[in-house]
Structure formats: C-alpha cells, structure tokens
C-alpha cells in the first residue's frame, strides 16, 4: 500500500481575508470578520505579554543576590503586582480564546462568522479601553497590592494607583463576558449540517466550557473589584472592619472568579492539545466523549473549590475541610484528559513536529502543576507551603507550562491556516526545546525554595537560597529566548515561509478543508459533515492510508 502523501504543489489563494477587505488601517479597525479580530487580539495580547515579561525579567534580575540588586523594596512590590495584572487579566485570560478561539471556532463548526460579529469587535475595543486604564495605572505610580488586590491594603492603605487599575479590570471583564457569550450562542446555533454536538472538535468543547466560566464568574470579580474601588474612593464600608465590613468577604468573592479563571486559562490550552495529539499520532482521540465531558466537569467543579486559597486566613476549619475535599475532586476530570491523551499516543504513528513537542511539553508540565496543586489542597501541608515559592512554582507550571505552552503550540499548529505560510521546522524544534528547558530551569528550583521556606513577594532572602535563585534567573534568560525565537521566525515566515496549502499536516478538522488563508466567508460552499471527529482511519480524502506515518509539509525543507 502506498503510504506516501501526494507531493504538495499549492498556489496561494488569490483572494482571502487578509486582502479581500483591503489593507487600509480603517478596514482593520472597523472589521467584523472574526479572523481579523483574532489578529487584532493577537497583536494586543502580545504587547501585554511583553509588558508583563519586562516586569518578570526585572524581578528575576533583582533576585540574583540576597539583598536584591536592582530596585527598592517598594518598587519590587510594584513589579510583581504589575507582572501579575498584565499577564493574568490582559494576556493569559484572553490569549487562546480571543486569538485562536475567535479565529477557529466558526471555521471548526462550518460557520461564516461568530453569532454577533459587531459585539466581537466591541469586545476588542473594551479590552483596549480596560488595558489603557491599567497602563495608565502602571505609568502613574504603579500598583503595589499584589494582583489579588486584597483588602484592606488595596481599599485603604496602598498609596499606589489602585483606582484606575481596578476600573481597568472591571471594564476588561465585559470584554471577556461578551467573548464567552458570542462563543456559546455561535456553538449552539451556527453549526453546519451534520456537525452534531458529539462531532464537535474538542477545541470547541473546551471553549464552550471556558465560555461558561467567563459568563458565570467574571461579573463577580468585576463587581468585587468595583466595590473595593468604591471603598477606596468614597470610604464605603464593604471590606473595612472599622466600618462594619469584612476583609475575608473580599477574598471569598475574589476567588469565586479567580480560581475558575485558572480554568479559563488552561481549558482552552487543553483544547489545543486535544487537536494536536491525534493529528501527530495519526489516531482517533481516545475517549472523545470523556474528554468533552471532563471539560464541562472542570468548569463546574472549578467553581466549588475557591476557598482553598484561604486556608490560613482564619476561615472556618469545617469550611476548609469541605473546600479541601472539593479541590481534590477537580483532579479527576483533569486526570481523565491526561490519561486519554496518553492513551491516544499508545501505538500511534507519532511524528515530532513543533506543535507536537509543545503538546507533549504541556502534558508533562501540566501534570506536575496539577499534582503539586494537590499538595496545596492538602490542609496540613498547605499551612507549611502557603505563600511560599512553592505556590509560585505550582501556578506557573499550570499557567506558563500549561496555558502558554498550549498557546504557543496552537499558534504553530494553526499558523499555516492563519497566514498561509509554514514556519521553519528546524528552528521551531529548537525553540520548543529551549522553551521547555528554560521553563523547567526557571520554575523547578522555586518548588525547592518554597518547600525550604522562602516566602513569595519578598524583595530579599537569606543567603542560603541564592544558588537556587541564580538557577531560576538563568532559566528565565533561556525561557526569554524560547519566546523571542518563535516571535522572530513566525513573523519572518509570514513573508518568506513556504506556501502551506489548505491542509499541511494533514488533519481532519473542518478548518483544514478551506483555503489557507481562508476566504472572508470561511468556506466557498457550506460544508456538510458526514464523518466522525478525528477519524484518521477512514479519511482517504486526507491522502493517507490508515495509520500511515505523517509526512509533514516540511519534508522537503
């Protein structure tokens, strides 16, 4: 049997979304095309990633010596706060949903656009307005409350620019809510003929679950931060005990959103991994319905665990026991995913393209991040490692090792679809490995530092912690290279990369059945779906025999 795929000989399409509406700046700023809006988000979140990245770099340089080498203690407080605010609210939360989700969801379900294209554009403008408030806060004295804005520090005592920051995050919340609303309505009402719920790509399922969290959780944090702002501006007693308020109430309300927000970050990355793994293992995904259901389960159970952030605040022992137990529960659907991805790899015909390297990196790092989360959910152990670098390492393994790995892997996987061009394969392999090594060197020492007792948010530390801190800073330098490399070669490839063709991997999703880059209306003819998802065994139209090894489009590089 001939396993060789047909030699690609593609001409780029003459008309596609990047050129059909013209290249004028006005055509971009007033576009209602979900693909163009996705690119607007791509640029915006990248700017915030760099702003947050600069703060992270300064933090790591400062911590090279026990007494700190770079900034005053007050400035250090501002650096870690602004790093967290920029990265969480303006990069991680919108990254995969607003960039890849926006670009792909309509195409994956066979629709021409999202249900509310104008609201989609509005959500980007709201993001920009919220972001401007936060940048104003950063540039007029900065912010020193920690990204968690705990009261009464944020509402009474802090002398930094808290008010514009909370207003910015409040405004930005509406962007998130509108994106979630758009996704839910689109998935419910705009699926192509034959695209039943259980034929949806798992990327769509994970975004559906994410959208539920966005809609149900975001209003709570928006109002909570607004209340903290009102207490600060008008001295209303919501959280200040001196005025009859309760500071712990702020933490309850804040974490009611901010713990599920972790799943806003990681669920979409799980969706990316669920697409990449079967493509590069040439196998149908193992346990499709369990992976789909586990996304919903994570979204639901994720709402029931928030007070595990508050074990040492003086919350009731009985409530702490309940939240500890519930926190263990959320590990079950997460483990279902990890086991099913691994089972998909079993006896697969695996190829090591860059997206696959990122997906495999995700599985390993997410597993470490998830399991160390169980340490923190354990009441007794949490007393010891609460507010230490162990927590920092844990959530960076989830948010950076998980969410950012998924985002960068997804960008590589769909880059040929977005731009119509392939990135340089050898360099992309190198970058994926650099990123993985740099990440582990940065954050693994922090597990040890935390376990040994180094608290988070301190500008100085005892001399015996210096070796591990230097290792972490060295890792951060490598990690920075791991981010800069893809940015450089992906930009380069937009002009000079090899023409990709509609389906370079080849993969089964509907998005791969249209041109690269796609036309404005996504498909020339509305597709009709008559196949099961990830059915690599029965898709002769992909040009491969069952189980044939993947010959990537890069093979003649």
């Amino acid at each position: 049997m001939n396993n060789t795929p047909p030699t690609p000989s593609y001409e780029p399409p003459r008309d596609h979304y990047l050129i059909s509406a013209g290249g004028h700046i006005r055509s971009w700023l007033l576009t209602t095309d979900h693909k163009r809006i996705a690119l607007l988000y791509l640029i915006s979140v990248t700017v915030f990633f760099f702003i947050g990245g600069v703060f992270a770099t300064m933090i790591r340089i400062h911590l090279l010596t026990p007494d700190g080498v770079l900034v005053t203690p007050e400035t250090y407080n501002k650096l870690f706060t602004m790093h967290g605010v920029a990265m969480i609210f303006f990069f991680l939360i919108p990254s995969i949903p607003a960039v890849l989700g926006n670009f792909l969801i309509p195409m994956m379900i066979g629709a021409k656009d999202l249900a509310f294209p104008k609201i989609n554009l509005l959500s980007w403008y709201i993001y920009l307005i919220g972001g401007s408030f936060v940048l104003y806060s950063f540039s007029t004295g900065g912010l020193d409350t920690g990204w968690t804005f705990y009261t009464p520090l944020s509402s009474i005592y802090s002398n930094s620019a808290v008010t514009p920051a909370v207003l910015g995050i409040f405004i930005n919340g509406f962007s998130s809510i509108l994106t979630g609303l758009n996704f839910i309505v689109t998935i419910h009402t705009m699926r192509a003929p034959g695209m039943t719920w259980f034929r949806l790509p798992l990327f769509v399922w994970s975004h559906y679950a994410t959208s539920l969290v966005m809609i149900l959780g975001t209003p709570v944090v928006a109002i909570t931060l607004l209340l903290a702002g009102l207490e600060r501006m008008f001295h209303l007693g919501f959280f200040n005990p001196a005025m009859g308020g309760d500071p712990i109430l702020f933490q309850h309300l804040f974490w009611f959103y901010s713990h599920p927000a972790v799943y806003i970050m990681v669920l979409p990355a799980m969706g990316v991994v669920s697409e990449i793994i079967p493509t590069f293992a040439r196998k149908p995904i193992f346990g499709y319905s369990f992976i789909a259901a586990s996304s919903i389960a994570i979204a639901v159970i994720g709402f029931l665990v928030w007070a595990h952030h508050m074990f040492v605040t003086g919350e009731s022992t009985y409530a702490a026991l309940t939240f500890s137990f519930l926190s263990y529960l959320v590990a079950i659907p997460s483990a279902v995913k990890v086991f099913n991805w691994t089972a998909t790899l079993y006896k697969g015909s695996i190829s090591w393209d860059a997206p696959m390297l990122y997906a495999l990196g995700f599985i390993g790092l997410f597993t470490i991040g998830g399991l160390t989360g169980l340490f923190l959910a354990c009441l007794g152990l949490d007393i010891h490692i609460h507010d230490t670098y162990f927590v920092i390492a844990h959530f960076h393994y989830i948010m950076v090792g998980g969410a950012v790995m998924g985002y960068v892997g997804g960008l590589h996987y769909w880059w040929p679809k977005i731009t119509g061009r392939l990135y340089p394969e050898a360099l992309s392999h190198f970058a994926a490995i650099v990123l993985f090594l740099g990440f582990n060197l940065t954050f693994f020492p922090q597990f040890i530092l935390g376990y040994l007792g180094m608290p988070r948010r301190y500008h100085s530390y005892p001399p015996e912690f210096q070796v591990l801190n230097v290792l972490s800073t060295a890792g951060a330098s490598i990690l920075a290279l791991g981010y800069l490399l893809p940015m450089a070669y992906l930009s380069w490839s937009m002009r000079y990369g090899k023409v990709a063709g509609p389906n370079p991997w080849p993969a089964t999703g509907l998005e791969w059945k249209t041109d690269s880059p796609p036309p404005t209306e996504n498909f020339h003819v509305t597709p009709v779906v008559d196949w099961e998802p990830y059915d690599y065994r029965n898709r002769p139209d992909l040009g491969l025999a069952a189980g044939a090894p993947l010959a990537p489009a890069h093979s003649d590089d």
């Binding site: 149900l216 709570v220 712990i248 109430l249 309850h252 309300l253 009611f256 709402f303 029931l304 928030w306 007070a307 919350e315 009731s316 022992t317 009985y318 409530a319 309940t322 939240f323």
Partner: protein, 110 residues
C-alpha cells in the same frame, strides 16, 4: 419576517413597574434610617430582591421569553446560590459560633 416576534409590552405596565421600583427605592431609604435589629439586612435584601425580580421579569422580558431563556436565568441563580451557600459554609461554622453550639449541646447532654 423575523424568526420570532417580540412581545409588545404596553407603556402602562412599564410605567407601573417603574413606579414600583421607585417605591422600592423609597422603602429602602426609609428602612435604612430605622433600626430593625437583626432584620436590617433581611429587609434590605428582601426589597432589593423584589426589585431585581421585577426588572428581570418585565424590563428584561423574562416573563415573555422562551423556556430556554428562563432556563439560563435559573442556571445563573443556581450559580449565585452556590456562591452564597459555600461562602456561608465558612461564616456559619466559624470557631466561636461552633464553640457556642457545641457547649450548648454538651450542656443539654449533661
């Protein structure tokens, strides 16, 4: 022709709801200046809930909406209930309150 027709609500109903909301606001203000002891918060929340219900039912057309719209509203309320119940699981079982309950139980047991 639109897929589903909008229910037309008479201005009279809108005006009555508006007046009811103004009345509710007046009641809230009046109650805020009186001391009902432990019922202060109960009264304030009861008036606020009644006002919110009117807004959702009439101004947001939930009363005339499809069943699916109502289901979404019920889901949102359920989520609110989760937030309140689990938050109260902390406040209602704090140590002093539990100690009082346990000592009272011990007293009756003796």
């Amino acid at each position: 022709m639109p897929e589903h027709s909008e229910h037309v609500v008479s201005p009279k109903i809108y005006l009555s709801i508006f007046l009811a909301l103004i009345l509710g606001t007046g009641l809230t203000t009046w109650a805020a200046f009186r001391n009902f002891g432990p019922f202060n918060i109960v009264i304030a929340l009861a008036i606020a809930t009644a006002k919110a219900t009117l807004v959702v039912l009439f101004f947001m057309h939930a009363r005339y909406g499809e069943r699916r719209t109502r289901l979404v509203i019920v889901c949102a309320l359920f989520w609110l209930a989760i937030m309140l119940a689990l938050t109260l699981s902390d406040y209602q079982t704090r140590q002093p309150r539990m100690s009082r309950l346990l000592s009272r139980a011990a007293h009756y047991a003796a």
